[in-house]
Amino acid sequence: MENKALAGIASQVRRDIVRMVSAVNSGHPGGSLGCTDFLTYLYFEQMQHNANDFQMDGKNEDLFFLSNGHISPVWYSVLARAGYFPVAELGTFRKLGTRLQGHPSTDKNLPGIRMASGSLGQGLSVGIGAAQIKKLNQDPTIVYTLHGDGELQEGQIWEAAMYAAANKIDNIIATIDANGRQIDGDVDDVLSLGDLHQKWVAFGWEVLHMDGHDFDSIRSTMQQAKALTGKGKPVVIIMKTEMGQGVDYMVGSHKWHGVAPNAEQLQVALNQLEETLGDY
């Protein structure tokens, strides 16, 4: 897909995100906007997946697990825009009875979601388990996961990282949303991750870096990551992003981690984001 087409989808996804969270005055726009380009690329170019016939067991298709479940708005929008469920359903986000729970859930059978997430640190283990069974089933497809950088403070992530390398799980590509922000402020101030690159290297992973807002960088890195699968090591991509990307007053601030724009702020945001595919 051309970068221009991807950018058009991403712009619509960002409109969806700010409209969804503003409508219910809750949710997490910051990280959602920051991961929009990545998830758009992942679902519209990278993954082999079947949006029209969702199967929980995911055999012979690439799988994606969102470990930092609070950025559900971007995932829901991308899933809907990719055809997993009607776009109009985005309007039910966080409302009573919705399939689009505040954090992703399998509870109401929303197509595209295979595991609940929200309580942080669990998605890497889940992805590795799914990847290991793909190997057992001789299924050549790949498992993708996404994690926040703040989420890496959870110990379970490192249990999983150690396990994957020790067991040569080489059909998983984990991506870290390195926006450097978390609820209480900068990751460096809250609890520094130290040398993140060297940590993953020391844990036995192939480590790549990319600019999460440059489709050329995303494409070349994701292609490189895919080429590195099947070679005995798990792959992690440290993806530099800006929290709130695409909305000028949100960019780079942890204050929009979990706060929704009001009606006036929403309008300012929408004026900066072209409607390309039609609002839900």
Partner: protein, 320 residues
């Protein structure tokens, strides 16, 4: 009511044998263990099916997450570690990735309760039944002896959904027939009686069988129910028995808070209030000692069942 003792074995060995059989029968069964393969008796499965056995190291949170992920390719993962590390240590992982996500994971937990013995209170979990039965979508099973643990292990593979299977370390008498059918959620009435209903699970079923003999000797007719499934609870079996006996003793190797007794009392208070007495550990941690010393000290032994029956009988309304 004679109970034939068919041998003496630990319930964890029943799990090990059941898992090994499942390995032969069902290629979708996979097993994970957090560095306690010998203690959990998972070696036979590991040896026969090395490709389907996953050693996770001392990392239980990761083990539960891996197991949840492994269901997605259609496998049936059985996780194995001590009950303490199978529940409290990984409660949030079970809650989100297994129970809420409705994943077909079988959480198999050995060394439950005081009968873990000498290792002491750090390892003697007495809250696990409570934690697990509070979780929506979770089935909770506490089999009574070696044979029943083996039967339950095989039965839960055929049940779609999360299961917590609790068993233990000490060698105990075997009394369930090797060919008995295990039905999840259907209690076994081991002895019929008219004066009192004893509802027990796990090792306390044998202790209750011993109590029956003493009660019989003093002219008390006790009905004994082996409530191997704590959730879903066999309400019909409880109500049918209580309609006859009018009082209940529950017996479990678990904290009084949250356990079998509390589950039974919820049924009784709503549907058929009768006096109930509890044989359970009362809001205290355990300590080091032999399994049988600890059962005596913490009042979950045969004499405690007998005493609880007497208390329950004394509270029954006198009908003139």
């Amino acid at each position: 009511m004679e109970f034939e003792v068919l041998g003496n074995k630990d319930t964890r060995s029943g799990f090990g044998e059941g898992l090994a059989e499942l390995g032969q029968q069902n290629p979708d069964v996979v097993a994970l263990c957090a560095d306690l393969t010998g203690s959990l008796k998972m070696d036979a499965f590991q040896k026969a099916h090395p490709d389907r056995f996953f050693q996770t190291g001392i990392a239980e949170a990761n083990m539960i997450g891996l197991a949840a992920g492994m269901t997605i390719g259609g496998k049936i993962p059985f996780t194995g570690t001590f009950a303490n590390f199978s529940t409290g240590r990984v409660y949030d992982q079970i809650r989100q990735s297994v129970a809420y996500s409705k994943k077909n994971v079988k959480i198999c937990a050995s060394h439950a309760g005081l009968t873990l013995g000498e290792d002491g209170a750090t390892h003697q979990v007495l809250e696990d039944i409570g934690m697990m039965r509070m979780l929506p979508n979770m089935t909770v099973i506490v089999p009574a002896d070696f044979n029943q643990t083996k039967q339950a292990t095989i039965a839960i593979a055929a049940h779609e959904g999360p299961v917590y299977l609790r068993f233990g370390r000490p060698v105990m008498p075997i009394f369930v027939k090797p060919d008995a059918e295990f039905v999840i959620g259907k209690a076994d009435v081991l002895a019929e009686g008219t004066d009192v209903t004893i509802i027990a699970c796990g090792h306390m079923v044998w202790k209750s069988i011993e109590a029956l003999k003493e009660l019989h000797a003093i002219g008390i007719s006790a009905e004994l129910i082996n409530m191997h499934t704590i959730k879903p609870l066999d309400e019909a079996a409880i109500l049918k028995s209580v309609a006859k006996t009018g009082c209940v003793v529950t017996a479990e190797e678990h904290m009084m808070n949250g356990g079998l007794g509390e589950a039974v009392s919820q049924v009784l208070s709503r549907k058929h209030p009768v006096p109930q007495e509890y044989v359970a550990v009362n809001d205290t941690f355990g300590e080091s000692g032999t399994p049988m010393e600890l059962m005596t000290k913490y009042h979950i032994d045969t004499p405690d069942v007998v005493a609880a029956v007497k208390r329950a009988l004394a509270r029954k309304p006198i009908i003139i």
